[in-house]
């Protein structure tokens, strides 16, 4: 398929899953505030930090505002400047969809277009102010419907594979960041069991895993089992391992020969994660583990963007380029938005 179109499909998937994830995270955090007796700042601040938006948010609203739930939600939902706000994600997703409208089904296009138009309506703003829960619920339902339409109405060919890979890689990153955020809060809070329990439940809710976790563990809730569930559970569609595996499967079907660096690195990352599962993780190792996953995923994504362009030479065909030594070893940044090539 056309390289630019593949790139847009990939990013459409990322933006949609990001919008869905932030709506759920916002709901889970609002609910956490009622569940635990801890400073409100400690509930909302991590949400801004894991999104990578601390600096612009503080520049705009001041450090005090990090504890102000309404301001944080306002910013993370509506901000036009923010690269990761809900409104930005939906707008960007719709723009990608418009650019590849010929690849999407009519149902799929109508749904993303209607979500975009709905977000811009005055009545929606009123709903946001009067019934926050319902507002986020609407966003979640619409984005979930879109994800369902992808699987049920698009041809299961390359465009859908790129799209779904975007969904899965974005989700792996989101799960990693949400886990990291709860882990930080946990470290800082007192070791009170009730608080801990509330935090872990909030984590599971934020990645839609509460019911799934209970099914697996029949009510036996420990920090270790929860962390392992979110990291490794092969049947949980938001665990990091599941997402990487799904992305890796899609990529393996697009490029059947292992000539592409992004494909090889994704397989390696998955293998590495599986080896960590075998060895077992200590709670204290979570942060470096998650950092590695996020950074490596970001590096794979940017490599993928390059490789999507395909070899541009026509004759004679070039041999595949060997990966440079130690590539990506020092790459702390994560790419949050699509880079426009033109």
């Amino acid at each position: 398929m056309i390289s630019r179109v593949a790139d847009h499909c990939f990013w459409f998937g990322r933006y949609i899953d990001r919008a869905e994830s932030s709506a759920r995270l916002m709901q889970a955090t609002a609910s956490l505030v009622f569940d635990v007796d801890m400073p409100v700042t400690h509930c909302w601040q991590p949400l801004v930090i894991v999104s990578g938006e601390e600096a612009p948010f503080v520049a705009r609203h001041g450090r005090e505002a990090l504890g102000h739930g309404d301001l944080v939600q306002e910013y993370m939902t509506w901000s036009k400047e923010s690269q990761v706000s809900l409104a930005t994600s939906v707008r960007a997703a719709r723009e990608c969809a418009r650019a590849v409208r010929d690849q999407l089904s009519l149902e799929l296009w109508e749904e993303i277009n209607e979500l975009y138009l709905w977000l811009g309506r005055e009545s929606t703003e009123t709903l946001y102010h009067e019934n926050r829960e319902e507002f986020y619920r609407n966003v979640r339902r619409s984005t979930q419907l879109i994800l369902g339409l992808v699987r049920s109405t698009m041809l299961h060919g390359e465009p859908m594979r790129f799209l779904w890979m975007g969904v899965m890689l974005e989700r792996a990153g989101q799960t990693a960041r949400i886990l990291d955020m709860h882990h930080h809060t946990m470290m800082r809070e007192s070791a009170h069991d009730i608080v801990r329990m509330a935090l872990w439940m909030s984590l599971l809710r934020a990645c839609s895993g509460a019911e799934g976790f209970m099914k697996k563990h029949q009510g036996r809730v420990t920090a270790q089992s929860m962390v392992e569930f979110v990291l490794f559970e092969s049947t949980f569609p938001r665990s990091i391992r599941y997402c990487l595996k799904a992305a890796s499967d899609q990529l393996g079907r697009i490029w059947t020969e292992p000539t592409h660096t992004s494909r090889r690195r994704l397989s390696s990352l998955l293998a590495w994660l599986e080896s960590q599962q075998k060895e077992g993780v200590e709670l204290g190792q979570i942060h470096p583990l998650l950092t590695y996953v996020v950074d490596e995923s970001a590096a794979i994504c940017s490599r993928l963007s390059e490789e999507i362009q395909g070899p541009t030479q026509v004759s004679p065909p070039l041999p595949p380029t060997p990966p440079p030594e130690g590539e990506g070893a020092n790459r702390p940044s994560q790419s949050q938005t699509q880079v426009q090539s033109a």
């Binding site: 398929m1 056309i2 390289s3 630019r4 179109v5 593949a6 723009e95 418009r98 650019a99 409208r101 010929d102 009519l106 296009w109 109508e110 277009n113 209607e114 138009l117 390359e158 790129f162 697009i254 490029w255 999507i308 362009q309 395909g310 070899p311 541009t312 030479q313 026509v314 004759s315 065909p317 090539s341 033109a342």
Partner: protein
């Protein structure tokens, strides 16, 4: 008084209540006495019994559905990238079968002549040598590309896709107002409008009595394949768009989607060894036919505009070598130039040895001394148009103009006579159109843009075409950028008597 009328909805009368055709104007649906024409009887009867409230409901449903489907165009002047729907009026414009057959013949004849004219202009220029047209008028046009002289169109046809703008004069005759042989747009609205009216009228009208329009994309794909460079099998075709911010982007994507071919931007293409390729995730793939919706100037920076970053470097070299077909051919602008338009009937006589079967509007060419003198002295009676402007811009509507505007145009015409033509204002025909303020139908002026597809095998005309309507009372300007809307155009399948 007014509020009393508002409070008591008039349900006994339909939307035609006190409909009055404009004096001195041909009405597309009714005779001067208000009775329907033979081919509009059925739709007239349906509308006649439709209460205004109900009609208003249908109208807003139709608009909402276009919005949700993203059937929109972008507004150029708006930096925010605002999208608008092209407003639709649900009252269709109906054309009788016999009349359409005649129109069709005239359109095909005209396109044949224009194709031959372009071959001639970029070839031997026999028509100029024969003294039928003033040479400097054609060769001096901004749109005549000297550098293309001697190049043949790889697929053999320079105008695979044409849109001819027609208007109907008060005596009921269709006249050509303008030719569009570069990148005519609007056909997607023809297909989308039909989908909307079909849904709304499905219970009242047998749509089988109306000729279908939905096959256009298939006919277009067939035409594009037929104009591929000779000797090529397994032809790869693409639609080339400037991108999502272009005002006609919806249409570009619509056509690609319905033909099932790839929609590409210039940066997706590159040229190697005078052959065009598209970048794919599995490496380069050869391209044989490009339905380009990009102006000549932005096709190839190496050829047209060294300062431009846009376009596909080397594309014109590939074209000159006959390795890729561009539809439509570059350089076509010299055939639909408004200053060349007055000579089209002569072209038809010269190339085909036939009399033109379509009428056209008498035109004063300001480059000619006598014409210019008349124009300058009669600005208040004339419509003056700049030859290289489109979309209803750069125009003086004499009868509605101020003295200052006329003075300004006089100055412009005298400064650059080649740039201007003038015509008497035609009382464009009108069609009953939903008037939201009065909540009933009022006569509004319309034009018609039929689309003609041409391959070496011959031409095919889309039955109907785009009817544009000036939604503003008293207006003659139908352009979407200036308050125009559109209507579904129905061509009757068989003549009724």
């Amino acid at each position: 008084m007014w509020s009393v009328l508002q409070a008591v909805p008039n349900t006994r009368n339909g939307v035609f209540t006190s409909y009055q055709p404009l004096a001195g104007t041909y009405d597309e649906m009714v005779h001067a006495d208000g009775s329907p024409r033979p081919h509009t009887k059925r739709i007239h009867a349906v509308l006649h019994s439709t209460p205004p409230r109900e009609f208003a409901k249908y109208q807003s449903l139709a608009e909402l559905s276009l919005f949700n489907q993203g059937v929109t165009f972008s507004v150029y002047s708006d930096q925010q990238g605002t999208e608008k729907i092209f407003p639709i009026c649900l009252v269709p414009r109906v054309i009788g079968a016999t009349e359409w057959a005649k129109l069709e013949r005239g359109l095909v004849q005209r396109i044949r002549a224009l194709n031959l004219f372009l071959d001639d202009m970029y070839g031997e220029q026999k028509i100029l040598k024969a003294g039928i047209m003033p040479a400097d008028l054609v060769l001096g046009a901004k749109q005549y590309e000297k550098t293309l002289k001697g190049m043949k169109a790889p697929g053999g046809v320079r105008i695979p896709i044409a849109g001819i703008d027609l208007i109907r004069s008060p005596d009921g005759t269709f006249c050509v107002l303008e030719d569009n042989v570069r990148t005519p747009s609007g056909v997607s609205y023809v297909v989308e409008n039909r989908l909307v009216t079909k849904r709304i009228f499905r219970e009242n009208i047998e749509m089988s009595s109306v000729r279908s329009v939905e096959q256009y994309p298939l006919e277009l794909a067939h035409t594009l394949r037929a104009v591929a460079p000779q000797g090529e099998t397994d032809v790869n075709m693409v639609v080339l768009t400037p991108g999502i911010y272009n005002s006609a982007y919806f249409e570009h994507s619509f056509l690609a989607r319905h033909m099932g071919i790839d929609l590409v931007e210039p940066s997706d293409l590159f040229v190697d060894d005078d052959t065009v390729f598209v970048r794919t995730t599995h490496g380069p793939r050869r391209v044989h036919v490009i339905y380009r919706r990009i102006d000549d100037a932005y096709l190839d920076p190496q050829f047209f505009r060294p300062d431009s970053m846009l376009g596909v470097p080397g594309l014109m070299r590939a074209y000159a070598k006959g390795r890729v077909t561009l539809a439509n051919a570059p350089g076509n602008g010299c055939a639909d130039d408004k200053a060349v338009y007055p000579f089209v009937p002569d072209m038809i006589r010269y190339y085909l040895g036939e009399e033109p079967s379509l009428a056209q509007v008498d035109t004063y060419v300001c480059a000619r001394d006598d014409d210019r003198k008349y124009v300058v002295e009669n600005l208040d009676k004339l419509v003056v148009k700049a030859v290289d402007e489109a979309g209803g811009y750069g125009m003086l509507m004499g009868p509605q103009s101020t003295a200052a505007q006329r003075e300004e145009f006089k100055r412009r015409v005298l400064a650059e006579p080649r740039k201007y033509i003038a015509q008497h204002r035609i009382e464009l025909s009108s069609c009953p159109t939903w008037d939201p303020a009065r909540e009933r139908l009022s006569p509004r002026r319309v034009d018609l843009r039929p689309f003609i597809l041409t391959s070496p095998e011959g031409s095919w005309v889309l039955p109907g075409g785009l009817t544009r309507v000036a939604l503003v009372e008293g207006s003659y300007v139908v352009n979407s950028s200036q308050g125009g809307g559109s209507k579904d155009t129905w061509v009757e399948r068989e003549a009724v008597t």
